[in-house]
Symmetry: C2
Subunit: 324 residues, 2 copies
């Protein structure tokens, strides 16, 4: 490996002069610059990032923490990495598999100077356990959390859920099944509030407690709901899911059971994932790309000490043929 010193010797100058050329800092006369560039070419010199990082204490790398990296993660990940690339930042992946310890290890990487900042896609630890890591570097997430320590690009799911339910009521659906996420999650709580308000406003609609599902996991939930619906004597005429992937699973299973969508039951999702267009799913587009953009830019502005103004996120109904 050729170092800055080799170049210096070859060009007959000191290594600091070479450093100035390489890092484009400080003054170097054209003549010596020429000599040095020549020497660098001759020797095939490549600056060593490791040494640079040690010197600067920075890595230009951001950790992306997630339970895993499936098709559900990919929209967000894709937008995040593209934004990072524009700013010359690297993205490092940390799979936790839902393990609390692994998640903290990843957070610790900021202390270890392995990364400059952290984005949290999915978490296992409580926000209170995560917050203290703010002192080692900025943290952002797309989950809903109100804290000065952690930036959140959340969308108001109270509004969007109410919008979804009003839409379904308008379309003539009378009994709605609700598949909700984890109740340690502010988004879920917002949805529950929206749901309560909705039924207050619509006394003509029946609120069936047995068709309100909390804490739904990702895998297989959709298929389970479908089978439950299949067997139920009193079936709701519509099912609303908190995320498109579960809705997709449910539709898939319903089709296997011989049902048609929306003839037999209406299905509505939330996210507008890549899969949603394929399966004609009515959903709400919450602009994950923009959220990812905001999440990266917050981290970037914190690191660069610049002003951060997020792009406002709208929520748009995407009407397809999974609802009548």
């Amino acid at each position: 490996m050729t170092t800055i010193i080799d170049v210096a010797k070859k060009a007959g100058v000191s290594k600091s002069t070479v450093s100035r050329v390489v890092s484009k800092n400080g003054y170097v006369s054209d003549a010596t610059r020429q000599k040095i560039e020549q020497a660098m070419d001759d020797l095939g010199y490549i600056p060593n990032m490791l040494a640079r990082n040690l010197q600067s204490g920075l890595t230009k790398t951001i950790a992306f923490i997630s339970h895993d990296f499936n098709q559900y993660t990919s929209i967000f990940l894709n937008a995040f990495t593209k934004t990072a690339l524009k700013h010359d930042f690297y993205v490092n992946l940390y799979v936790t598999g839902g393990d609390k310890e692994k998640e903290l290890d990843a957070l610790n990487l900021m202390k270890y100077k392995q990364v400059d900042a952290v984005f949290i896609f999915t978490r296992s630890n409580s926000w209170d356990d995560i917050k203290p890591y703010r002192k080692y570097g900025p943290i952002s997430t797309w989950h809903r959390i109100d804290s000065p320590d952690i930036y959140s690009s959340y969308v108001n799911q109270y509004d969007s859920y109410l919008m979804s339910l009003e839409f379904l009521a308008n379309r003539g659906y009378r009994t709605i099944g609700h598949i909700l996420g984890f109740d340690n999650n502010k988004n879920t709580l917002a949805r529950i509030n929206a749901l309560d308000y909705f039924y207050e406003q619509h006394p003509e609609l029946e609120k069936k407690e047995e068709w309100i599902f909390l804490n739904s996991k990702h895998r297989q939930t959709g298929r389970n709901i479908a089978r439950k619906w299949h067997k139920a004597p009193n079936k709701p005429d519509c099912l609303v899911f908190y995320t498109d992937f579960i809705a997709a699973e449910c539709i898939s299973e319903l089709q296997l059971l011989g049902y048609s969508i929306p003839e037999n039951v209406g299905i509505m999702g939330f996210d507008n994932n890549a899969i949603s267009e394929i399966i004609h799913l009515t959903t709400v587009d919450c602009h994950l790309e923009t959220q990812a953009f905001n999440c990266f830019n917050y981290l970037y502005s914190e690191l660069k000490k610049t002003e951060f103004t997020p792009i406002e996120i709208t929520q748009d109904l995407v009407i397809r043929s999974s609802t009548k």
Copy 2:
């Protein structure tokens, strides 16, 4: 930031002794070890990875290069990151957007000592342009390439394509449309050979040149094929795609046009992606997880100078309801 020197002072020893404790190299008496561990705890000492990396010249990081990170990438990425985690390696993402320069930049990271090895998911440069980078570190890919410089976990698509076509012929399909990938790709060439052989063996089946599509891009191709099929006077009774996502798009568009699968046309894919089960797609499972496993383990064994024995990859027909 507390350094090894702070710990040394606090514990009243030299920094080399502390280093021995931290790195678990060399002998330290129990008494002093106790003192040092106490001091580390008191000060909340965290070793600095950057300094370690500089010293060792290694980063324990592998670059994952891809045009982008969509749902199509995610199966592979997920398996790759999980395998890496097991070996305590980090995965760094490099989006190229199909840009040749950006791709070479990413390859260059090995020179810069930013990463130890590289995995190529999608590429823009020719293999001949990529090979020279081998001298900076090991390279692997899942694409088909026969070279001592680059490890490839490819599956033999000649075999799997022939298997698919025989299956379709057995099911009674008479005219088959073929949607193939790029012809700068050995997989595609293998498929073309399989296709030729297949029609030689089945003179009773008509080979329609106008229903053989080469160089099909990812986005929108499936929908275009569907519309072409819709308008065509003589429609093939079956369409075979080189990847599930395009098949999924095609099914989606056919449904919008009012057709049913497999009543109006049979559809067959390749990959067995996450989406495939959802849409009941008959396909070939080429075990991407195992391929990712092999690709990582090759890189790992090259870095560690250990023996590498890949897990053999089988190709299994997954029969669902998109074919009769």
